[in-house]
Symmetry: C2
Subunit: 191 residues, 2 copies
């Protein structure tokens, strides 16, 4: 467990702020203020704002990867693992209500900015997509595994977007219940 360097602190603060305020709306001053560091000193660690975004995305990718591997170990059956995915909506419901889904909102923002790192941000979606696809295949849904993965991703995104817009946590629970039912019906329909 190494000590956190200043660089790590910057990335961490940027990660939070990009999520809460959006990438463009977060200024260097915001990050500097949050890390309690001089604004100019910044450029010793990062050459540009884009470079910080890159670092944030890669940290998120690494963390997501780790989370998926953990679910793979903890969940005995593929169904349990997919359920882990569904239930992050519940676990993070307070933050989702306030800021939406960290993956979806960043992806949407970078698409509008036509930002150079938008493809890397979308890799976060791909990570989930590939992982879910594998779980559905293990479930015996070889033919339509990708379709199911995309369907589940889309429904999660929609839930996050509306929960954010309507500031409604109950809606998340309501929809998660339906997703659980849907998942069970996926198992029953195994070929």
């Amino acid at each position: 467990m190494k000590d956190k360097t200043t660089r790590d602190h910057i990335v961490e603060a940027a990660d939070q702020l990009f999520y809460q305020q959006g990438y463009e709306h977060t200024s260097f001053s915001d990050i500097a203020h949050s890390v309690q560091i001089s604004r100019g000193n910044f450029y010793y660690h990062f050459k540009s704002k884009d470079e910080i975004l890159d670092a944030v995305i890669h940290v998120r990718l690494a963390n997501t990867q780790k989370m998926l591997e953990r679910w793979e170990i903890e969940g005995e059956q593929p169904v349990d693992r997919i359920r882990s995915f569904i239930h992050i909506l519940i676990a993070n419901r307070a933050k989702i209500k306030r800021y939406g889904c960290p993956v979806g909102t960043l992806s949407t923002e970078l698409a509008k900015l036509d930002h150079g790192s938008k493809d890397e941000a979308n890799e976060l979606f791909t990570l989930f997509r590939v992982w879910l696809r594998r779980q559905f295949k293990l479930l015996g849904r070889k033919a339509d595994a990708d379709k199911l993965a995309m369907h589940l991703l889309a429904r999660s995104q929609g839930v996050a977007t509306l929960a954010n817009a309507f500031h409604d946590e109950k809606f998340i629970k309501q929809e998660v219940k339906q997703l659980d039912d849907w998942l069970n019906s996926c198992v029953e329909n195994t070929v």
Copy 2:
């Protein structure tokens, strides 16, 4: 049919640009350039950028209202009307692929900016929600009409977000087919 005033042109251009580039990322110069108007002249028509956003939102609200009323007239049965809603995903698929859903992306952005007009932007969602709820009630689903309306809204949002991230129009068609099936099953389960 009155002539379009300069003000109308500004709102129209701002509407497009806010959709394509996002609100914050669209500058006065962008809009001025698009309308072929002097930048400074702007402030004769609008006191601030926020005021333009307000105008854009109200135009969108009015247009949405009109569209919903049209669907109400054209669709004989509630099912047909709800189907009209589902199929805007198909009709607008090219733009959705490039820029996402105009309602959802604006709502998400203003939430992050914590902008004063975010509630008004969310009224767009409410417009659809109330309208869909009414249709589901007419369908005989009195008890869970709002639940169904929210569910449908969420799924549409999710489809738009992922189609945008993955630049995938085929996914839209795939999911619309599933939504059509879902809608039919709603009719069958009428109490």
